[in-house]
């Protein structure tokens, strides 16, 4: 293998690998935030609804 081949293959594979990691990070980030972190927000909404209901009944 010539030095030029090593240089081209080397930087090429670095870019390919990190491009795949970029896409995977976006994809998994989207999936996680869409289907898993959402639950926490739902829970927050539930807590807010309960607090609002307590206030509506005249409680503290």
């Amino acid at each position: 293998m010539t030095p030029l081949e090593v240089m081209i293959i080397g930087i090429g594979v670095v870019f390919i690998t990190l491009s795949i990691l970029t896409l995977a990070t976006y994809l998994f980030g989207w999936i996680i935030n869409k289907f898993f972190v959402q639950e926490k927000e739902d829970e927050k909404e539930k807590v807010a609804a309960i607090i609002a209901a307590i206030h509506a009944r005249g409680g503290d």
Binding site: L18, T25, G29
Partner: protein
């Protein structure tokens, strides 16, 4: 009859004693990577005092080098420790900065080319190029795999990698300034999104699997980095995270210092090649900085001027020094600018990038 060491001193060993003292001075007095240059400097003195037997086949330094450094164990343990201390959140919040970490690896391959022009063989040139990854453990690991029979090159690469990491605040600013305009350096970047705990836990596992499948020879480095990071992010392995990032890493650092010092023996280290490697190291760092900054310019154009191109320079993996350089330069132009976290994205991507580049070179040439 006892032989006196003083009569066995050669001019090479005297020069190396001076270099040992210089490294200790730089570490203690100038605060340049003191945790590493201190032990290395002391080990250089130990290795170059004559007739001690400490570098002989049953000597302490020889055993440490052969068992812990040449096998790659210590650099990998240090990588695990780095993983426990690395926060990948800025990268997870802005994954496109991964590519800035890739662009900065250009320095590795350009330095490889220049080393070939200067007369080094391909494996030595690849070891020297890795200095541009600005990552000490990666440089040592790659060198021990690529030029196991050339201890003087391993020693020069190690000293060069760690010394220049401490010089990042001096090497990078003139290059960044030359490749950006004042207006660009003033660009403020907005706040980053909050990253969930699940993302932080999934990330090290996902990176390990993906890199392992694409570049298997990079897996020891990336795998240990990510294992350390999983200790950190899991939230239930605090004891392991604490040990990996403190006690274990300190032990590994001491062993690394002693092992590298063993390689710095006068008659092999004092050569014209060593000087060439030190100069190529500066070139590798500079080219890496330029590669990252120029790729930052592409991001600047594509984002219609919303991304500060300086953050590309942080793609060299010297964490967090390179990010601090970007932050400081941004604040020099605009005191209200806060680029640190934005620069940390490419910075930690650079750690993965340099480990990947090292793995590729080991896979191709090892």
């Amino acid at each position: 009859m006892i032989e006196l060491g003083i009569f066995a001193l050669t001019w090479q060993s005297l020069v190396m004693l001076g270099i040992g003292l210089l490294l200790i001075y730089l570490g203690i007095s100038k605060n340049m990577e003191p945790l590493l240059l201190g032990p290395i400097g002391f080990a250089v003195i130990l290795a170059n005092l004559p007739l001690t037997g400490i570098t002989g086949e049953s000597g302490l330094l020889y055993v440490i080098y052969q068992q812990l450094i040449a096998t790659g164990i210590v650099p990998l343990i240090i990588f695990l420790g780095i993983g426990t201390m690395t926060d990948f959140s800025p990268l997870l919040a802005n994954p496109k900065t991964f590519l800035l970490g890739a662009a900065a690896q250009l320095g590795i391959f350009l330095a490889l080319g220049l080393a070939i022009i200067l007369g080094f063989d391909l494996n030595s040139a690849a070891s020297i190029g890795i200095i541009g990854g600005a990552d000490g453990p990666t440089a040592i690991y790659a060198a021990t795999r690529l030029v196991a029979d050339r201890p003087e090159i391993i020693a020069a690469v190690t000293v060069s990698a760690y010394s220049y990491m401490a010089l990042v605040p001096i090497i990078q600013p003139p290059i960044i300034k030359a490749l950006t305009t004042k207006k660009q350096r003033k660009i403020r970047m907005g706040t980053m999104r909050k990253v969930s705990d699940i993302e932080k836990i999934v990330f090290p596992i996902g990176v390990t699997i993906i890199v392992g499948l694409i570049v298997p020879s990079a897996l020891p480095l990336v795998g240990m980095l990510m294992l350390g990071n999983l200790f950190r992010t899991s939230g239930v392995m605090d004891r392991l995270s604490d040990t990996g990032g403190n006690a274990l890493m300190d032990i590994a650092t001491i062993m690394l210092g002693l092992g590298v010092g063993f390689l710095m023996v006068g008659n092999t280290f004092i050569q014209l090649e060593t000087l060439k490697i030190l100069l190529l190291g500066v070139f590798a760092f500079a080219a890496a900085t330029a590669g990252g900054t120029l790729f930052g310019q592409i991001y600047y154009k594509l984002s219609n001027g919303k991304i500060n191109p300086m953050i590309g320079a942080a793609g060299v993996s010297a964490v967090p020094m390179a990010s601090r350089v970007v932050q400081k330069m941004g604040q020099e132009e605009d005191p209200g600018s806060h680029l640190l976290m934005h620069a940390m994205g490419p910075n930690v991507a650079g750690v993965i990038g340099s480990a990947t580049a090292a793995g590729i070179l080991i896979g191709l040439l090892g």
